[in-house]
């Protein structure tokens, strides 16, 4: 009896599996046939409508002929026309007409309807389409969706609003930014990307943002977004206020905003405000301070940077070495001081940067310089580099065609240096 039950179960399972296999096979075949037919037709329709719409746009008859482009929602013709219009809206000269057509052919109405209905994916897709259609009339509806709790919807809304652009959209995003970020509804990267699309327009709103400023994480997010937007004196003034923040992340982001060559004149004595942060107790703040000073082109920082060559953190030491290289020959005395010192790591960092940035080429050229002091310092640096095992630029120079007297000098230098 028991065996019979087992056999019946097995036979039923086999039959069910057989049916499932057949169903999957048939679905695959039918789906292929259907999709092939559908895409062939869609391709054809896209070509036809692309030609027709472009012609009517060129001849200025689009308003009188638009009845030809009316199709029932989600039909193949509807999809083909949508595809064509989405392409045209990205072309500057057809932008306005494509925008008008989306509205008059019912696309905006259709997708606006689905921002409230259906499953999350359908709603998100509708929001995305409204953004791609740059539907300004949909902005209030989209703004209302910013207050939702579903990350999938809010992320797409933020992106769509940034595509549409405009004051209202920007203001709505920035006003809600603290809440959205604090509740992790949209990632900071997605928010940053959306606000970048507004360009410099976003700056005054971000700078004047009042809510959320008691939250250090929100401040650091705002500063981070500002650092990726075009340089602006208002951003610099705001960031300068946070250079002395208690929070290291905030100080570092503020330095990032400040550290651009365009900002030199934005705030009085800006490099002096940055300089003390080279001694910050937190390594990534010191690192950012070097980068910012480098960007501000403030040469007087070289002696302060020199100390950071011996920093406890390797990233800071490397950054300091790179910064000194940028100053070129003016750093030669500092290089020599470090290279004749006892800190092996600092020596290696300097040698590595000299070679990586091809500054070694300049040093080799300096061997023939009329300035005797420069000639001597360059020779000493190259000699020490060779003794530390950084000889490749010298050996490569010897392999190339060039001045024999200079080569002889280098050969002599390589003989006297111990080499590693």
């Amino acid at each position: 009896m028991q065996n019979k039950v087992i056999i019946v179960i097995i036979i039923t399972t086999i039959a069910a599996l057989l049916l499932l296999i057949a169903a999957l096979f048939l679905t695959s075949v039918i789906r292929r046939v259907y999709k092939k037919r559908k895409y062939r037709k869609l391709d054809h329709l896209r070509k036809v409508f692309d030609k027709k719409i472009r012609e009517s746009l060129e001849t200025g008859t689009v308003l009188s002929t638009q009845s030809e482009f009316i199709a029932s929602p989600n039909s193949e013709a509807w999809q083909a026309i949508e595809g064509v219009l989405l392409q045209l809206i990205d072309e500057e000269r057809y932008r306005d007409e494509a925008h008008t057509l989306f509205f008059s052919l019912g696309y905006v109405w259709y997708y606006e309807k689905y921002t409230d209905y259906g499953n999350v994916q359908m709603r998100a897709l509708s929001v995305d389409r409204l953004g791609r259609m740059k539907s300004e009339s949909s902005v209030p509806k989209l703004i209302a969706l910013l207050d939702e709790n579903k990350p999938e919807i809010v992320s797409v809304v933020v992106r769509s609003l940034s595509r549409i652009g405009g004051r209202a959209a920007l203001q709505a995003i920035v006003e809600r930014l603290p809440v959205i970020l604090d509740r992790s509804i949209v990632t900071r990267k997605a928010m940053g990307m959306a606000l970048q699309a507004f360009g410099a327009d976003a700056i005054p709103y971000l700078v004047e943002q009042k809510s959320g400023l008691d939250n250090l994480w929100i401040i650091s997010c705002i500063l981070d977004i500002l650092s990726r937007l075009p340089a602006d004196p208002r951003s610099v003034r705001l960031a300068a206020r946070y250079l002395s923040s208690m929070n290291a992340e905030v100080r570092s982001k503020a330095l990032k905003v400040v550290g651009r060559s365009e900002n030199v004149r934005a705030v009085h004595n800006l490099p002096e405000l940055v300089l003390p942060l080279l001694q910050d107790p937190v390594w990534f703040v010191r690192l950012q301070a070097i980068r910012s000073l480098r960007a501000l082109g403030y040469e007087a920082f070289a002696p302060s940077i020199e100390k950071l060559i011996f920093d406890e953190n390797w990233q800071v030491r490397n950054e300091a070495a790179q910064a000194l290289i940028v100053l070129g020959e003016r750093s030669l005395d500092i290089f020599l001081e470090i290279l004749t010192g006892a800190d092996g790591y600092a020596k290696e960092s300097i040698c590595e940067e000299i070679e990586k940035t091809n500054f070694s080429g300049r040093l080799i050229k300096n061997l023939k310089a009329s300035d005797r002091g420069l000639q001597e310092k360059s020779r000493q640096v190259l000699e020490i580099m060779h003794s530390l095992g950084f000889s490749t630029p010298l050996s490569e120079y010897l392999e190339q065609e060039g001045d024999e007297t200079e080569k002889e000098l280098i050969r002599g230098m390589m003989k006297t240096g111990s080499g590693a």
């Binding site: 036979i11 086999i14 999957l24 679905t27 695959s28 292929r32 992106r159 990632t187 997605a190 990307m193």
Partner: protein
């Protein structure tokens, strides 16, 4: 005596029945999850921001690490495809792991590289580095020449040199699709919980027609039967296995052929383990262990749309080596992380996923091989009727065919990378045929690996792929 034997055999047969039932129930759940997730993913992809991320400053830099050992005939393809990737900020680091052929020279000559003096600082201990090669005109590319230490050691060396917060490991015989890197990065950019690793789909390159070495001109199926079986197997493994596990936040395997990692987490976890035969799985398990121990929120994700193509072995000998190595690596990894097993501190990974791997993946081939043996004995002892035996076999085969057909259906739904009608029918036929011999051979190799593990024969069996020169990577041998 005979009575005891009969009772034992009947007991074993019932156990096999229950085992088979539980295993297939788990597979069915994974398949159902995969179907649901893939349908949802297909709808989501229509509004995915990944294209915007390819030009965004918000996209973090990534280092692509390619470890190579005697790959002179294929390495240029993977380097070129890596350099051609559409991603805003990336560098490619090639680690020549003691090649004895012309691999290094070929790369140097092709990209006009020059030796540079660079300091090698080790956060992760590795074999010594012999040199660095660089060309200012291709500033995204750096080649490291080091003493042979195995793939894990080479990857650790790349991590030491990399300057990006993320790195992507790529096999030297692979071809990365142009948008694969940004697609595999998307979960990291889109998630509010830190994603510390993310993997994409790996497909078999054999059969592809390429132009300029890196552009896919036409996708075709190879003629080799063994490769066709593997194609079906890869589709099944990636489209239903990994998608299903991903949805349960329980991924233990991301293919080392193409995976993205957060560097800081990998370094904190101690880097790739030298000597482990499945360094990719071991890394994922140790990442779980590290994050769960530290009670840090994290995710490890699998994404079904980024694709990397790789070469597969096309003869039994090499395939056997590969499968034994994979299974040995699996056993090694589970054994080395056994403290996680049934330990509530490690949540679902310790309480469910690792036990699943032990019971169904490690012991699976033992049960299967013993099953064949006992079924034959049962039949001769008259315990099992021929009808019952045939029915049970039919059920097992039909279930296997169902899983393969469902996976091919998933492939049809998603990428349809095999577009011709002949492809569809061929794959479906091979989905049926693999149940008659191929699966059994695989089980046998895995059974062999288990025995090898227990007798201490745990060495890396080098897979000699088409166009490769064979040199056994001595230093990669497991010494445990």
């Amino acid at each position: 005596m005979k009575k005891i034997l009969i009772i034992t055999i009947i007991g074993f047969n019932y156990c096999v029945g229950v085992y088979f039932g539980v295993m297939n129930t788990i597979y069915s759940v994974l398949l159902a999850l995969a179907l649901f997730v893939i349908f949802r993913h297909l709808r989501r992809i229509k509004y995915s921001p990944y294209k915007e991320f390819t030009i965004s400053q918000e996209t973090p830099p990534v280092t692509i690490l390619i470890a190579m050992h005697n790959e002179e005939r294929v390495v240029l393809r993977s380097i070129r495809s890596a350099l051609a990737t559409e991603y805003p900020f990336f560098e490619v680091i090639i680690i020549n792991d003691g090649s004895t052929d012309g691999t290094l020279q070929k790369v140097i000559d092709t990209f006009g590289l020059k030796k540079i003096d660079r300091v090698y600082r080790t956060f992760l201990k590795t074999k010594p580095v012999k040199g660095f090669y660089f060309n200012l005109e291709t500033p995204h590319l750096l080649v490291i020449d080091k003493e042979q230490g195995g793939k894990a050691d080479a990857l650790n060396c790349g991590i030491n040199v990399s300057r990006s917060p993320y790195f992507c490991s790529l096999d030297a015989d692979s071809l990365l699709e142009k948008d694969a890197l940004i697609r595999v990065m998307t979960p990291l950019l889109d998630s509010n919980v830190p994603v510390i690793a993310s993997g994409g789909v790996v497909r078999i390159i054999n059969g592809l027609r390429l132009t300029n070495e890196i552009t896919i001109e036409e996708i075709d199926l190879p003629d080799n039967t063994l490769l066709l079986f593997q194609i079906v197997e890869y589709i099944r493994g990636f489209l239903f296995g990994r998608v299903g596990w991903d949805n349960l936040h329980s991924l233990l395997i991301l293919s080392g052929t193409f995976s993205l990692f957060q560097k800081a987490s990998v370094v904190e976890a101690g880097g790739f383990m030298v000597g482990n035969l499945a360094e990719d799985m071991d890394m994922i398990v140790r990442l779980h262990r590290h994050m769960l121990k530290k009670k840090k929120p994290y995710r490890i994700r699998f994404v079904s749309d980024p694709i990397c193509w790789t070469e597969a072995p096309d003869d039994f000998k090499m395939l056997g080596r590969q499968r034994r190595r994979w299974h040995l690596g699996l056993i090694q990894t589970i054994f080395q992380n056994r403290e996680m097993m049934f330990n509530p501190q490690f949540g679902r990974i310790g309480m469910a996923v690792l036990p699943y791997y032990v019971i169904f993946e490690i012991l699976g081939p033992v049960i299967e091989v013993l099953g064949y043996f006992f079924v034959i004995i049962s039949f001769f002892l008259g315990i099992l009727s021929l009808d019952f035996l045939l029915l049970f076999l039919t059920l097992a085969i039909f279930y296997g065919v169902f899983l393969s057909t469902a996976s091919i259906f998933l492939e049809e739904l998603t990428f349809k990378r095999y577009p011709k009608w002949s492809h569809l029918f061929k794959l479906l036929i091979y989905g049926v045929l693999e149940n008659f011999g191929y699966r059994q051979i695989n089980s046998f190799w895995r059974f062999e690996a288990l025995i090898q593990y227990f007798i201490g024969k745990r060495k890396w069996e080098y897979v000699h792929k088409k166009g490769h020169e064979e040199h056994a990577p001595v230093a990669a041998d497991s010494t445990k």
